[in-house]
Subunit: 520 residues, 2 copies
């Protein structure tokens, strides 16, 4: 029946004189899409990069509202130039830029999310240029060096090398996604393909500031945003440069543990051996939480995780392993994962001490018994783990080690009442993990069909190790969410000298064109 309908359409197109996309060579194999993109870029790459540079030149730190508004306006114009219906939607924080492209015969509606704000910048750490002054380098800036030096963007006649990099804040995170999405629309239009899906674009302006207003925005605009699937476009490609599709992320919970000693730092000579040392109490406490084999020993930590499904396990097995390369890159020999590969290790909850602070070290060290010792901890959660439950488990564990647990600095009376006191604070509320079922029919089709169009199959992760509040989309819009990541993994995201390989921007266009065009 569908085949008959398709031919009817084709015949109508033939009669109308407008060539039907299928007749124009709608790609069904990998080569054609890539070939078409390559010849498209031969003419258009300079236009894309010029527009991208203009976009990157607008400062986009979340707290800089005036420039955030300039970014929003710029994106709206970018959308309108391409014939999208675009609007700037105010929230209690920074605005969301929303755009739509409706296809006449669409059967599915696809939503694409990205963010246009960037991390704060420390200009003094940027080498050879300011963070919002994009420059081109003929390769990767070497660590502790200012080589290679920026080169001029070449004139239109000269081709751009795919390994060259554009350095600027948000060149990867996450203006690259917005640029690749909108450039994909131009490519699709110029290629003459008929769009088979309605497209909705949600570009947030405060992701790097914590997305505080995103849940309310989604809730309020539920109808406007109604879609069949949402693609969350952010993050780096795999280590070999292959784009990633990810179906989940870990949740996160940040805690701080402070052990108290005397009310003031004491002289370690006068009071050493006698006064309690909170640094020693803290190390014993932390050592009791995770053994020296990397196993978390807090009661209940592994109990509530939902095991991976067969499809998820199968996907996990298919992911290539780069552990040996990474060990070289990071210069490490021993691992904490005790036999698990990286891709396997990140499917489990983690307990990570990310900071210790107590007294002084180095030149500043002084011979004191410090009055307190603090550890900053992040806990990564997997599907099934409830943040509140985990806080409770940590608290119980600390109590079982003989500490009185409080949430504020202890009063004198409290200090005199309890021999051992810990302040346990939850630094952010935290949020749960998200894992979209890979068996969902739309998800299966994404994986299967995408492979037909792309040069290389994307790497498919049941869950990444990092955390994003993707559950907000799934919970509010009640649709499957899939992450799409394509920028070079060594992009210095969140740091100075952020960059993108030009070739990765083209990979994003390839990926997004396929996702927008293909049948679901």
């Amino acid at each position: 029946m569908r085949i008959i309908l398709r031919w009817i359409y084709i015949i109508i197109f033939m009669i109308s004189g407008i060539p039907h996309p299928d007749l124009l060579g709608m790609p069904t194999l990998k080569e054609p899409l890539l070939d078409k993109l390559k010849s498209y870029l031969a003419n258009k790459e300079h236009d894309i990069i010029r527009e991208f540079n203009e976009f990157l030149s607008i400062p986009n730190v979340s707290s800089d509202r005036a420039n955030i508004d300039r970014n929003a306006e710029f994106i709206k114009v970018m959308m309108e130039k391409r014939g999208l219906r675009a609007s700037i939607i105010e929230t209690d924080g920074n605005p969301v830029v929303y755009g739509e492209w409706n296809a006449p015969n669409a059967t599915q509606t696809l939503a694409f999310y990205a963010h246009y704000d960037g991390q704060p910048v420390e200009p003094s750490l940027w080498i050879d240029h300011q963070p919002f002054q994009p420059v081109l380098r003929p390769g990767k800036l070497e660590a502790n060096s200012d080589f290679p030096k920026p080169i001029r963007f070449p004139p239109s006649g000269c081709r751009l090398n795919e390994d060259w990099r554009i350095y600027a804040r948000s060149s990867s995170d996450d203006k690259a996604s917005i640029m690749a999405l909108l450039a994909a629309i131009d490519f699709i239009r110029e290629s003459g393909w008929a769009l088979k899906n309605n497209l909705k674009f949600i570009f947030e302006g405060e992701e790097e500031a914590g997305s505080a207003n995103l849940p309310a925005f989604l809730e309020k605009n539920k109808n406007l945003l109604k879609s069949d699937i949402l693609f969350l476009c952010d993050g780096p490609a795999y280590y070999d440069g292959t784009p990633i599709l990810f179906f989940g992320v870990r949740g996160i919970l940040s805690l701080e543990i402070t052990v108290f000693g005397a009310a003031v730092n004491l002289h370690s000579g006068h009071y050493g051996n006698w006064a309690p040392n909170p640094a020693m109490k803290l190390v014993h406490l932390l050592a009791s939480m995770k053994d020296d084999q990397g196993k978390i020993t807090i009661n209940g930590f592994y109990d509530t995780a939902v095991p991976l499904t067969d499809s998820e396990n199968q996907a996990l097995r298919n992911i290539p392993v780069f552990d040996e390369m990474l060990k070289e890159v990071f210069a490490i020999n021993g691992l904490e994962s005790q036999g698990l590969t990286l891709k396997e290790a990140i499917q489990l909850p983690s307990f990570n001490v990310n900071g210790l602070r107590c007294g002084w070290t180095g030149d500043q060290a002084r011979t004191i018994i410090p009055s307190s010792a603090t550890a900053s901890i992040d806990i990564r959660l997997v599907k099934g783990n409830d943040p509140d439950y985990f806080v409770e488990k940590v608290k119980e564990h600390i109590q079982n080690q003989g500490f009185h647990v409080i949430e504020e600095d202890p009063s004198f009376d409290l200090r005199m009442r309890y021999p051992q006191i810990v302040k346990l604070t939850r630094k952010e509320k935290g949020y749960k993990a998200q894992r979209t079922p890979m068996d969902h029919p739309l998800c299966r089709r994404v994986i299967q069909n995408l492979a037909k169009y792309l040069e290389t199959d994307p790497v498919v992760f049941p869950s990444l190790g990092g955390s994003l509040p993707i559950h907000v989309f799934s919970d509010t819009l009640a649709i499957p969410t899939i992450g799409v990541s394509f920028v070079n993994y060594d992009n210095n995201q969140h740091q100075a000298n952020e960059n993108i390989c030009i070739g990765n921007l083209w990979k994003g266009m390839e990926m997004f064109s396929a996702l927008m065009m293909m049948e679901y």
Copy 2:
């Protein structure tokens, strides 16, 4: 025979018309010395305080050579005014001010050591005045307050209250000792007592900078400094205000332990559970060095200590216990000493973590796996403990925990070769403890005779908990050394708002007059 000689001297004095000190009431009981001092101060206290203020007004940070020289010159003049033979002796660092007062019939030569340099200052932390602008407060500056406010130094007619405090850098540490020593000479002279001992004064100018040139100075001037006993004048009185005589101090050794993870901080989401976390490795390592009962578990740590002698044990038993008061002062309930009192606990070697540094905490915390974690440690040594041996024991312990131990940051090759790497550095060479035998005849006489002159018996410590390189004096001059401490224990030594109770300065004078005058 001695009695006959004495009467001959007295008769000579009677003939000469000059009153002999014994006839003038040379004190043999406690009351007279104190009474005499009190009536002396009624006339002279303002002169002493004026001179002291002038002395405190000269900045004395060890690194400020121009002002160090002004201090040295000032002290030389102070000595010369009192008829001492004084000189400034250059060293490879700051000069030593040396002075002598020789008694015609002296049988003993007493040396007194103090230092005229002070700790660095942070003027912004000083309340109501600059550190080298002495002010008077009618009581103790309360914590986190600027009460009580400074008052004017009263005119000569009004008496100074003993509880009033002078606030200035080095008001306690250690210009107080120099002032009290030189004021004691005036007091002795004005009281008309005949001095029975030769006096030598050694005032160092770089104690707070580590006394790097003191050993060479002592060695070079061995003959000049030849004495029978040396009093080291520094440090606070006991908690109840009673001056302290101490016969020993602990030695010290400062180490730093750094555990390495990856060469860079890693994203705790992407690599958590997989990459090694040096913070966790450090806490397990430190926890293995000292158990949660406060017992050091490094092999050999308690083996080489020389036990206290009977006299030392007896002295220890005589020391009053203020542990309950201190627990209130410091707002602590549980102790590390597991049943030992403070005075007992400090007779043992200690292992103290004085600093931890790794990643970030608080508002700065970020979700990383830190690339390294550092602990700063001080080890206090008791008599018999060799610093080199202890470094070796710590190193062995770390190796036994499976770490490769190095002294510099690891190269890439080293990182790739060893799964666990610790950098162990010795921050200063450190030095051994010193314990002058209390059974030495001169020491016994100091204890016995001093009690006759003072209002209150001093508290006698076989060893204090703190560390001073006193062994340098004992080793070079080969004489017994005894420490004398009289400033209020809450003097904010080494901190902002350093101060001295005026009454403690008088206690110093009382103590020093007795030490200078008495028979040995």
